[in-house]
């Protein structure tokens, strides 16, 4: 059982939702990323997504674009990020997923990347521009190295396609809350809850929701019907404001703590039922 599976199994037993922060590796320095992961874990994060910088992040909104640029400037290449994960593993067993674009992985070599990532202590991979149709060359080595290849589902994904994706999914499912790029949004779409409910009928895998969740209230709303809330841009903006300072750790940690508390509270009410729509 890898760390992702173990984490969600434990949370499910405790009827607790997972908080999944996303931060960009190397934003603003690799050392700070190490401290941020430990701080996030201490404040209630259950799994951390580490963004792998790419020069052309076409699925990211402005906040994460700037974070990825800061990571690039800090020299956060794949080999340095894997070294960072290896260092973290001597101090933390939190589940870690690398989140990024395909080209840096391809350049490193899919097989070599999976072998080195597995050895370093990475648990899962989420490659945003690698749909299931093209994922074969990464799926095989990932499986061989014990890495979960996490798949995305979107509001535009038709039901039949969702069913196919769910069958090849590992770890957890990542449901993209809105048709759009990553970023802070005022409110979550009203059809989110019924769509997650429809997805729930297709799988026993944990379902995480991301894109647009930035406040404790939004995280709590998601926690009432999903297994995990992924929060990215809100953390990227805090890191942008505070840089590599101790205040950054405190600000990021505080937001994570508030989110996790709000999510726990929301879940205490128990999951609600909703009517599934035709499309996911």
């Amino acid at each position: 059982m890898n760390r992702i599976e173990k984490t969600f199994a434990q949370l499910r037993r405790r009827r607790e939702p997972a908080l999944v922060p996303f931060i960009v590796a190397g934003d603003p320095t690799l050392e700070q990323t190490e401290s941020l992961v430990l701080e996030l874990e201490a404040r209630g994060a259950d799994l951390v997504e580490l963004g792998v910088p790419f020069s052309d992040p076409a699925a990211d909104g402005p906040a994460n674009q700037r974070a990825l640029e800061r990571g690039l400037r800090a020299g956060a290449s794949v080999d340095k990020i894997l070294a960072l994960v290896a260092r973290l593993r001597s101090r933390s067993q939190i589940a870690l997923v690398l989140f990024g674009y395909f080209n840096p992985v391809l350049r490193y070599g899919c097989a070599r990347f999976c072998a080195d990532a597995g050895r370093a202590g990475v648990d899962g991979l989420l490659i945003v521009d690698l749909p299931p149709e093209e994922a074969g060359e990464l799926r095989r080595p990932a499986r061989a190295c014990g890495l979960d290849l996490i798949h995305l589902l979107a509001p535009t994904t038709p039901a039949a396609r969702a069913a196919r994706i769910v069958r090849m999914a590992r770890g957890f499912l990542y449901y993209v809350s809105v048709a759009g790029v990553t970023g802070v949004r005022d409110k979550l779409p009203s059809e989110l809850e019924p769509r997650v409910a429809a997805l729930r009928r297709l799988t026993d895998l944990p379902i995480g929701v991301g894109f647009g969740i930035s406040t404790p209230a939004q995280a709590a709303a998601v926690a009432s019907f999903a297994d995990a809330a992924v929060v990215g841009s809100a953390f990227s903006l805090l890191i942008e404001r505070h840089g590599a300072s101790a205040e950054a750790l405190e600000a990021v940690g505080a937001l994570a703590g508030q989110m996790k508390a709000a999510m726990r509270q929301a879940r205490a009410g128990g999951p609600r039922q909703a009517q599934p729509p035709d499309d996911l």
Partner: protein, 418 residues
């Protein structure tokens, strides 16, 4: 008389969008259903005689097709070798071949009942061609253009605005075409239900490389017919500039089965291939994934996309259409590169000998042909794709020659020139 096999019998791309080891669909899940929808709609449109008739009618009456295949007698005599023909895409409405594609895709957008076009542009030629079609068919039009290109190509920005498009300067990354493409994709992800993404070249995720190739192939179909009528034989060489590669594919594709026809794609060598200031993706790049397809790219050892340079703003994209990557690997097309200096000289040469001011992009093909022609006998035939006209480049050319737009030579320049 030689005959081409039907284009339909070619095997690439396969049903999943692969040209050998290149192509595919590397996009976010949100866009995947839209790509399938586009593929279905396009398949139906392609089979529909009414769609073909509509396309042909606008191509003739609005774009001005067929464009001439012009025998450049003076240029040929000056060079003393093979006969040089120019395929005059510079005479298309809006000034370049780009309109062949935007016309076809805009008709497809209308057919798909999309109310809004979104497009990226580098030099602004594709943006102008997209904005033109949006005006013609009453669609909203959103253009994304890197901040640096907005500054360099003010004339085209003005044209797009006059045509009713909204021009969004892109501030991210290198602030050029690749970043404009990222931003157009971001816009499309958020608006995919009512928006048609109109890509400007034979790149991007499947089915775009196929669709753009089909709409641009009119260039080669006409040229093939025209040269056979004029010369009673096929040409020995086809020469076209390549960046994304749509004008080159358009010319080459209908000749691919004609084994005796040699083809040369000319990339931008910028300030020279020994340094980083070029955009010669096929000549000097390596394979990767960008903007939805697997193809040759200019990238660093970590897979980050490199910044590029060419004096031709329409040649500085760091990728290339996947079919070109395939044609390079199978050896069907030879790819080479020409520097800024050589392209500038070719603009002057063509202007002097033929009274035609070429776009800097197309001048790369002219420069190669001018070097090739003297090495061939006078019975040989070269067709050069003159993909666009040079009006948009006057400022760049003037700056390079030390001229100002009012035509006066600065005193210092005059002194050194003497």
């Amino acid at each position: 008389m030689p005959r081409a096999c039907p284009e339909r019998s070619r095997r690439v791309p396969d049903s999943r969008g692969w040209f050998g080891a290149y192509g595919g669909r590397y996009v976010a899940e949100t866009l995947m259903p839209a790509l399938y929808e586009l593929e279905q709609s396009y398949k139906q449109a392609r089979r529909d005689p009414a769609f073909s008739a509509q396309l042909a009618r606008y191509a003739a009456d609005y774009v001005g097709r067929p464009t001439p295949l012009y025998f450049a007698r003076n240029l040929t005599q000056r060079l003393g070798g093979a006969k040089i023909y120019l395929k005059r895409e510079d005479l298309c409405h809006t000034g370049a071949h780009k309109v062949n594609n935007t016309l076809g895709q805009a008709l497809l957008a209308v057919r798909m009942k999309k109310s809004r076009l979104t497009a990226e542009t580098g030099a602004g030629q594709h943006g102008v061609a997209a904005a033109t079609m949006a005006a013609l068919f009453g669609l909203k039009c959103e253009i994304f253009m890197g901040r640096l290109d907005v500054e360099r190509q003010a004339l085209n920005v003005l044209r797009m605005k006059l045509l009713g498009a909204r021009v969004n300067p892109v501030e991210s990354g290198s602030k050029t075409l690749k970043d404009a493409l990222n931003e157009a994709l971001r816009d499309w992800i958020a608006t995919v239900r009512d928006t048609y993404y109109l890509i400007g070249t034979v790149a991007g995720p499947h089915p775009y490389p196929l669709i753009v190739r089909d709409f641009q192939s009119v260039i080669g179909r006409e040229a093939r017919r025209q040269v056979l009528r004029r010369e009673r034989r096929l040409p020995d060489f086809l020469v076209a500039c390549v960046n994304g590669g749509s004008n080159a594919i358009g010319l080459f594709y209908p000749f691919l089965k004609d084994a005796a026809v040699k083809m040369v794609g000319v990339e931008a060598a910028g300030k020279g291939l020994d340094g980083p200031a070029h955009a010669a993706t096929l000549v000097a790049g390596s394979v990767g994934v960008l903007h939805g397809n697997r193809t040759y790219l200019l990238q660093d050892e970590f897979g980050q996309i490199r910044e590029t340079h060419s004096i031709a703003a329409g040649l500085d994209y760091p990728g290339v259409g996947p079919e070109h990557s395939y044609l390079k690997d199978i050896g069907r097309v030879q790819y080479t590169a020409v520097t800024d200096e050589q392209a500038l000289k070719a603009v002057a040469l063509l202007a002097e000998t033929e009274g035609i001011i070429s776009a800097l992009e197309s001048a790369h093909a002219v420069a190669y042909a001018a070097a090739l022609a003297p090495s061939l006998g006078s019975e040989r035939v070269i067709i050069v794709n003159l993909s666009g006209r040079g009006d948009k480049d006057m400022q760049t050319i003037a700056a390079h020659a030390g001229l100002t737009l009012d035509g006066a030579e600065p005193a210092a320049e005059r002194a050194t020139a003497g």
